[in-house]
């Protein structure tokens, strides 16, 4: 079942036309099925983050449409959009974006607080997620007292509390070392495999992308190609690298 569908998204910065304008997205059409684990890759400036922002309703497309769970989010505005985001979508950011004044647990339940869920429900949810991501021992600590990996797992838990239809992740491993990156990507795998949640992540980290089931490459604001995982993660990693080489980005010398 298709959970997210976009049609011909165009995003122009700096006025609709004219000399100063930049076309960040140029006719992107994409569809993601329920329970899929998709990565969007591309060189710097290719429009990855713009695409993610448009898909998640943080930014409005200049033209085209985005629908999630059958709802047209490109037509929603203001508070309706905010409500939709917190009920249907989850977010994980590169800088974790946790509130320093709240403990890990409080950060996790924040979307539930906004939804005015019952205390028992919040406690139950936090307990479950804490165990799932192995952060139950640090739940009462403040963000500046825990490691980056733990902060990101807290952020992943926060993205999941309201049982979203889809989780968006913007360079979730960008601020982490390789070991923490692996832990986070395993978390995403768990989300997809155990909870059946759809995950869409934007990354330029080949290693992170290799955990996904499908990688979509974009270049100059357009979808260039996509590949689907068939064999092992190692094979998939190699084929992503090959693709990136074709795409014109520099490959890593390993």
């Amino acid at each position: 079942m298709v959970i997210m569908e976009t049609e011909n998204i165009v995003k122009v910065y700096g006025g609709a036309s004219g000399e100063g304008s930049t076309k960040a997205l140029d006719g992107v059409s994409l569809s993601v099925n329920e329970g899929e684990f998709v990565a969007i890759m591309g060189p710097s400036g290719s429009g990855k983050t713009t695409l993610l922002n448009v898909l998640s309703g943080i930014d409005q497309p200049s033209s085209g449409s985005v629908s999630i769970s059958g709802q047209e989010i490109s037509e929603m505005t203001g508070d309706a959009l905010a409500l939709f985001r917190r009920r249907q979508l989850g977010f994980v950011f590169q800088e974790f974006n946790l509130l320093d004044s709240l403990t890990a647990k409080e950060n996790i339940i924040l979307p539930m607080v906004l939804e005015k869920k019952s205390t028992a429900e919040m406690e139950e949810k936090v307990q479950g997620l804490g165990e799932l991501f192995e952060i139950d021992s640090i739940l009462d600590k403040y963000p500046y007292n825990i490691s980056g990996g733990q902060q990101q797992r807290t952020a992943v838990s926060r993205a999941l509390v309201n049982e979203p239809a889809i989780v968006f992740a913007d360079e979730p491993t960008g601020n982490l070392d390789s070991k923490s990156s692996a832990v986070i990507m395993e978390c995403f795998e768990k989300i997809v495999n155990e909870l059946g949640t759809t995950v869409l992540l934007v990354t330029h980290d080949v290693f992170a992308a290799s955990y996904c089931q499908k990688v979509v490459f974009i270049k100059d604001g357009q979808i260039h190609s996509s590949i689907v995982k068939k064999g092992s993660r190692k094979e998939f990693l190699n084929s992503i690298m090959d693709h990136l080489a074709v795409l014109g980005g520099r490959t890593h010398d390993i």
């Binding site: 905010a82 950011f93 509130l99 320093d100 004044s101 709240l102 979307p111 607080v113 906004l114 993205a159």
Partner: protein, 644 residues
């Protein structure tokens, strides 16, 4: 591009930070200058000496200075906090701490100079304006606005002293601290190191204890311990305050159902309160002083007529002897339109106390007939009885008098027994007119004949229209003065008063005018200071809210991303600003009220003084209304900043 150019470019890009700092310092200079235009105003200086309003002015003056010290160092800290992370960067690029210090001195030097100039200018303009406004509103024409060198000197001096201290502290910090500390200083939240509910409870106890002690001892000690207990109360308030937010939030956490639903509000409040304890405390104290003083002074001002009437039961009163203040009835009538007149001979007698070593005891004897006439009573006395008459309002009467006294008349030792005790205000405030010993007429005559004392005739007059008697009373005073100077000295060496004092004229109308001018000036000064204080507190709160607006913006941006609606942002911001604006207001108002209640114990309690209560409600109401206005303003500004 030289390094200096880089620094200059960074400064230009960040001009808002400098403007902000400059404005705060300008305000500080303006405060000092506006206060000094009042404090050093020649007419008010004159009044300070004559009418004893020195104390009334020095307390708010001290408060203003403390406030400004805090204000300047706070503005400086906000400025430096942002600046320091840049300094860290400069240091890591190889700039020496000496260079940084030089930069700091130059920056602050320029801002300090500019602040002095603009502050003085703005201060002069605003003071002139408020002089005009207030003078016409309280109908006081005799305080002219003027500027003097002293005003400039003191305000520049006071500002520079505080400013240099703050800059000096930062210089030492910059020179001494490590690079990493400088770089990260922006990110360290100031936290309270000592946190314990026990300490908080102690603070609360200290505060409540001080207030209660003050309440129960104020009347007896006639306010001697007021400063001490007030200090203790403030200390207690501060301790309780610094612990209160953590304590309350810890308490709230015990009830997750309550806590979770106010998670954002409570947690950010805890974070903010930690940094703001001293500011909120300061603002609360300023509000307390403002409301308390304004209420008191408004009461005094309104009471000028009432006090004049109360303190002067007769329109005109004076002592008279053969050579002093002695006018014939015809002459007197020519000057004053006398309605009725009482002449009461008072016999002043000083007796050496044999039993009590070399002590003396003085008596003011009055005859029973005169007493009955004066107080419109029908008392009677036997020969060895006396009646003690205290010329005072009952609530101020604190004099003890022995039940008997002995006096030697001729060869006899006569012992008198007290029959009665009367406390009433019947005579104007004149020297030597507080305690009287009333004896029957026969004894009185015998005393005047056989004892070596002085008879002073107390003249008590009522005129046709006292409010219009100012000119006539003035003429009478002049006439008396001329006459008294021409006459030989009265030679009353045993009376503890100088002649001019003893023979002065106590009139209702002169008292009324004096009261009105004195309390008018005081009321003016207080209103003036209240406005300054209000502006100051508002700027302080505003400064505090907006100094971290960038962090707040980032926070709400994140929250928006995870789905917080603008309605929820509004609600949250409203709660926070409301707390910051109204917690100090409520505490300050409450403290002002408590202090008014305490002070009223001296005049029979607040319930017997409905005018104090009314004035308090009026002033507190006005304050609250203005605070409400400024709260809405700050909220609107904040929401525009956060929601765009």
């Amino acid at each position: 591009m030289t390094f200096n150019q880089v620094v200059w470019k960074m400064a230009k890009a960040d001009y808002k930070k400098y403007i902000f700092y400059f404005l705060c310092n300008s305000f500080a200079v303006m405060f000092f200058f506006m206060f000094s235009t009042v404090y050093f105003n020649s007419r008010i200086e004159q009044a300070k000496k004559l009418e004893g309003i020195q104390d009334a002015l020095s307390i708010p003056g001290a408060a203003l200075i403390i406030f400004t010290i805090f204000f300047i160092s706070y503005a400086h800290n906000v400025f430096m906090k942002k600046r320091r992370s840049e300094f860290g960067l400069f240091l890591s690029l190889g700039m020496s701490p000496r260079d940084i210090s030089k930069l700091l001195v130059i920056e602050n030097g320029i801002i300090g100079m500019a602040s002095i100039l603009s502050g003085l200018l703005a201060g002069a303009v605003f003071s002139r304006l408020s002089f005009m406004l207030l003078m016409s509103s309280i109908n006081l024409q005799d305080i002219p606005f003027h500027l003097s060198g002293k005003m400039f000197l003191y305000s520049i001096g006071a500002f520079l002293a505080v400013f240099l201290l703050a800059v000096g502290k930062s210089l030492i910090f910059t020179l001494r601290s490590s690079m990493i500390l400088v770089m990260k200083s922006n990110r360290f939240a100031e936290t309270i190191k000592m946190r314990s509910p026990l300490l908080g409870a102690f603070g609360l106890l200290l505060m409540v204890g001080s207030i209660l002690t003050l309440y129960f001892t104020y009347e007896e000690s006639s306010g001697a311990f007021l400063p001490l207990w007030t200090m203790a109360m403030f200390l207690g308030l501060y301790i309780a305050f610094s612990q209160a937010s953590s304590f309350l939030i810890r308490l709230a956490k015990k009830f997750p159902g309550y806590y979770f639903h106010r998670l954002l509000f409570l947690s950010s409040l805890e974070y903010k309160f930690k940094q703001m304890t001293s500011i909120i405390m300061l603002v609360a104290v300023m509000i307390m002083i403002t409301i308390f003083y304004s209420t008191l002074l408004l009461t005094f001002y309104k009471a000028s007529e009432k006090d004049a009437v109360k303190n002067n039961p007769f329109d005109v009163a004076y002592y008279q002897i053969e050579t002093k203040n002695n006018l014939s009835e015809a002459e007197l009538n020519k000057i004053l339109q006398t309605k009725d007149q009482l002449e009461i001979p008072i016999f002043y007698y000083l007796e050496k106390q044999i039993l009590a070593g070399n002590g003396y005891h003085s008596y003011n004897f009055m005859s029973l007939r005169n007493f009955n006439e004066l107080t419109k009573q029908e008392k009677s006395l036997e020969n060895q009885e006396f009646l003690f008459f205290l010329n005072s309002e009952p609530e101020y009467a604190h004099t003890e008098f022995s039940e008997t006294f002995r006096i030697s008349m001729g060869n006899d030792e006569v012992t008198f027994e007290m029959k009665d005790y009367v406390v009433e205000r019947r005579i104007n405030l004149l020297p030597n007119s507080y305690e009287f010993v009333v004896v029957n007429d026969e004894v009185f005559d015998k005393m005047t004949n056989s004892l070596d004392g002085h008879v002073l005739t107390l003249n008590l007059l009522n005129v046709e229209d006292w409010k219009n008697s100012e000119g006539a009373v003035g003429e009478l005073v002049k006439k008396f003065e001329a006459m008294n100077q021409a006459a030989p000295p009265a030679n009353f060496s045993d009376l503890p008063y100088i002649e001019e004092e003893l023979f002065r004229v106590a009139s209702k109308v002169a008292d009324f005018h004096l009261n009105k001018t004195t309390s008018g000036i005081m009321f003016y000064v207080t209103t003036f200071l209240s406005i300054l204080f209000f502006m100051g507190t508002f700027i302080l709160l505003y400064l505090n809210l907006f100094s971290e607006v960038d962090t707040e913006k980032a926070k709400y941006k994140n929250l928006y991303k995870i789905g917080m609606t603008s309605k929820e942002v509004k609600k949250n911001v409203t709660r926070e600003i409301m707390t910051i604006f109204f917690v100090p207001t409520v505490i300050g108002t409450l403290l002002a009220f408590i202090y008014l209640v305490i002070l009223s114990t001296d005049v029979g309690g607040i319930m017997n003084n409905p005018d104090i209560l009314m004035h308090f409600l009026l002033i507190a109401g006005i304050y609250l209304a203005i605070q409400l206005g400024s709260y809405f303003y700050a909220r609107k500004k904040m929401l525009i900043q956060l929601l765009g």
